[in-house]
Amino acid sequence: MAEVALSAVGKIYAGSVPAVKDITFAVPDGGFCVLVGPSGCGKSTLLRMIAGLETITMGEVSIGNRVVNRVEPMDRDIAMVFQNYALYPHMSVYDNMAYGLRNRKTPEPEIAARVAEAARILELEPYLKRRPRELSGGQRQRVAMGRAIVRKPQVFLFDEPLSNLDAKLRGAMRVEIKKLQRQLGVTAIYVTHDQLEAMTLADMLVVMNQGVVEQIGDPLTLYERPATTFVAQFIGAPPMNMIELSPGAAPPPGLDGVQSLPVPPAGALLGIRPEHLAVSADGEPPITDRPGDVDLDLTIDAVEAVGAETYLHGRLGGVGQSFTAREHGKMLLPPGTTRRFIARREHLHLFDAATGRRIEARS
């Protein structure tokens, strides 16, 4: 069990732009850290540097207070689960799990005990003699997990382990991974581009974009107080609505209540999450407008009902910017109707238009 600390870590591939720049954070012992970001943001490169599969161009990586920049992957006491599982196709499930232990000269009875234990936890006992190609995707994924846990490493590294599975299995495996990590108490670093996976798994979420860290924190903090427009739009589905506000100028038609917002001279972006756009259903009394709330008149042009909730897409004032609102239950408004949506002042997010940074709300 160990803490993983990165200090000013950077990676520059020969003769090209930096892939990862100046990254500093520490994952506490037993913590579950998720690196999330769009493809090409450097999250996998960062993970591979921690694993020792990429050289570290700048900064230091330490695992359990030991700087591992120059330590071979096998000596870093880590285990990694790959996106395409990377199981040895010619070995049985048992041998796949035992291979790493054999290379470390673990005595054979000890190997048998550890593999049996892992197989029990992962429910792989009936498949130990099979080859990987005789298993389903979810089973292969579990073998890859088994290969990681038999080693009893200090750190688990996951490189998009669920992205080759279908949606249903992905949900189930997500829960299993979380339970397993809790149960074993091993520090985990997990790379994904799926914000849902990131939100549900992480104790500590690191959002990356173009090689730099946008924000680090626990998932709900990132959801409630995104530090930048990038984080605001990346975390949450459907993404946050954003509208530009210029100081002094009149707000676009259909948007009320924004005059009192502290818009800086360069302009600002007002962000409202779809789930925070409230509208009263037919026959219900209208929602009362409190001071500081923002009102939007949206003309509905598309309705997506998924059962438990309804996504309403509408244009501001009928012709302006498109907004998405997420309402509970059925809210089947016919296209063309105009409704007044209300966003509470505590649910407003304001960002500097020039820097993309969050402007803290007035008290």
């Binding site: 992957p73 096998m74 990694m80 996106q83 395409n84 990377a86 040895y88 291979y99 290379n103």
Partner: protein, 282 residues
């Protein structure tokens, strides 16, 4: 294709049977000839059915030799050919595997140059470089040895290319997983790459065994003593005898014997051979 057209079936079968007949009939005739006695052949009375001298002829050719030409039992050149074909095929596979491994998995200076130099040797088969190669082998004192017979034929670009192509399709994650599992380069080669290459190796073995077995020009130059001769040369010597009749029944028996080892290799390795050339399993 699932079609039911009797005429097309008939025609295609006829063509196939004709093809098989063209290939197989001469072999059958050789078998018939190897079972007859010298006078029948000399008088031009060879029929289409085997005669009774089969075992006698084979025994003679294997352990006694012909009466007038070489006077040498053919078991010796058969053995020489087998040794040569085995050394060439295993040697080629071993060297090609290692060089392809180096080219794909190691970053060293002039890696690409090394690959292109190997590639260029495709244009330099033994026939092209025969004089310098002969000179080198002769100066090294390797005439009439298995080393002289095989080493110049071992270096091979074709097998290196095949293994290089195969290694390039092995996912990088397998290498990375091995690294994390604590396997060094040699263990990765032995534990992961070799088992995965088994089918390609089998295909290569079949091709190179036949290549080695059929060598004619090089053994002709390099071997002078009778006990180092290969079977192809043995047949040649039987056919061209001066001042005597060619003992056709014995020559044909030798031919049949010479055809057997490649056939055995192909039959034994057929499954792996086809797999190695067509499917890749990773």
């Amino acid at each position: 294709m699932v079609e039911n057209r009797p005429l097309a079936d008939l025609v295609s079968h006829a063509i196939l049977i004709l093809g098989v007949a063209i290939v197989a009939f001469p072999v059958y005739l050789a078998l018939v000839a190897s079972s007859s006695d010298p006078t029948t052949i000399a008088n031009g009375q060879l029929g289409l059915l085997p005669e009774g001298h089969l075992f006698e002829n084979y025994w003679k050719v294997l352990f006694e030799g012909t009466e007038r030409s070489t006077k040498q039992p053919m078991i010796v050149p058969l053995f020489n050919s087998l040794v040569m074909a085995l050394i060439i095929s295993t040697g080629k596979i071993a060297i090609s595997l290692i060089s392809a491994f180096a080219i794909i998995y190691f970053r060293f200076p002039f890696r690409h140059t090394a690959f292109w130099v190997i590639f260029i040797t495709l244009m330099l088969p033994v026939e092209v470089r025969i004089y310098p190669t002969y000179k080198i082998v002769a100066d090294l004192g390797l005439l009439n040895t298995y080393a002289g017979l095989t080493i110049p034929l071992i270096a091979s670009a074709t097998a290196t290319l095949l293994f290089r192509q195969f290694f390039m399709t092995v996912p990088d994650e397998l290498l990375e997983a091995s690294k994390i599992d604590g396997a060094g380069p040699w263990m990765f080669f032995k534990d992961t790459l070799l088992p995965l290459s088994m089918t390609s190796i089998a295909a290569m073995f079949v091709i190179q065994f036949i290549y080695g077995w059929n060598q004619y020009l090089w053994p002709l130059l390099i071997t002078t003593s009778d006990d180092m001769q290969t079977i192809v040369i043995g047949i040649q010597k039987m056919l061209y005898v001066t001042d005597a009749l060619t003992e056709w029944q014995l020559a044909m028996a030798t031919t049949i014997l010479a055809m057997l080892p490649p056939v055995v290799v192909v039959v034994l390795m057929q499954k792996l051979f086809v797999k190695g050339l067509t499917e890749t399993e990773k």
